[in-house]
Symmetry: C2
Subunit: 217 residues, 2 copies
């Protein structure tokens, strides 16, 4: 088949089946599945939830339309799983810090890593933002999914600061809001103003303002 041949040549980030035999299935995400994720991410970044048909997702991922339905039961399912995928990747990245560092230093480190990660991975950022403000998020909450400890990690991190008397003892959601809110907000502002970028000065200012706000005076 001509179509097939052309496609094989186009493949760049998806390896062919023969190369990597599956030694540990289900441990690593299947390569096709990953390709579908990346393709969806790219398209949603550019065209939004509406405006990214399954056919295009398949095309970008170099798979057949039907293949997507081998991995996901529906488009909704795909988007729901993609969200989990993004959330895990983000959490894995930001919670890496020097255990020896002071609480203040670790606090700033996690915050800066978050901003940096989202700036470098605009597609993930945009997708997560869209997801949170869409009905998908409520759909996900209805299916109780216990396999998410990102929030717990954050909760523990704040608790440590509160117990040590370093930061103010306020509601967890209040802390989350003051931590994440300004980060996502500034990324959005600069994404839209494509001429200028977030400077190190901006980041330093913001995290200092946040810290001044929540530290015990």
């Amino acid at each position: 088949m001509l179509t097939k041949e052309i496609k094989d040549e186009e493949i760049d980030f998806v390896e062919t089946k023969k190369k990597a035999s599956p030694p540990t299935p289900e441990i690593a995400t299947s390569q096709k599945k990953e390709a579908i994720f990346l393709s969806t991410l790219k398209l949603i970044h550019e065209y939004g939830f509406h405006g990214t048909p399954m056919s295009q997702i398949a095309l970008q991922a170099n798979v057949a339309t039907g293949t997507i339905y081998h991995y996901f039961t529906s488009k909704d399912e795909l988007i729901l799983e993609l969200f989990k995928y993004c959330r895990e990747k983000t959490n894995e990245h930001i919670f890496q810090f020097d255990e020896e560092a002071s609480y203040k230093e670790r606090f700033a480190s996690v915050w800066k890593r978050l901003v940096h990660y989202y700036v470098e991975n605009k597609e993930i950022f945009r997708f997560i933002e869209q997801f949170y403000s869409s009905p998908y998020y409520e759909l996900m909450q209805q299916r109780k999914d216990p396999s998410y400890y990102g929030v717990d990690r954050m909760r523990l991190f704040f608790k440590e600061g509160i117990d040590a008397g370093i930061i103010r003892d306020v509601n967890f959601f209040t802390l989350v809001s003051i931590f994440i809110g300004p980060a996502t907000s500034i990324i959005k502002h600069y994404k839209f103003n494509q001429f200028c970028k977030i400077t190190d000065q901006d980041r330093d200012d913001l995290i200092e303002i946040i810290w001044n706000g929540i530290k015990n005076q």
Copy 2:
């Protein structure tokens, strides 16, 4: 026609044409147009951008599908105009404060009015959030639309505080992010956790944290 009769009885917030003669056309938004706006807002709140077809918008608004196209050239146009409508209504609401009050008081007042407005108008909040993180926002920016002074008002308000030496002299976007970011963030958190609501304590904590962060020490 039977259909027509039933519809006339269903009308509640849309007055019939005969009642209010149009004394100043185009000054107030047409009632049908407003009904279409409200209907769209309601549906998008519940089903997202995808998932709210024109047919449903028309149904909710008690108009024919074709009528929407009398006011808007396309669905995109409708959503773009709805965004302006929401933004204006929000801005009108939040910038109302006692001119005599201190800067700190006015600062807190605007912030609390913003949170209050979004909590009371979840549909507007959700729509604006979805809009900002969708490709529509960039679409809107491409069409240069000079008729928006909301940002300028904010800019002026911050400038006043900086010039008076009350708040830190940092980048405008940094200030906007620390002002609006935590507000939208906490509203989202509580919207999803439908069991608990934002308390006055939460609001007071947050605005105090924000203020401590940006005030000149």
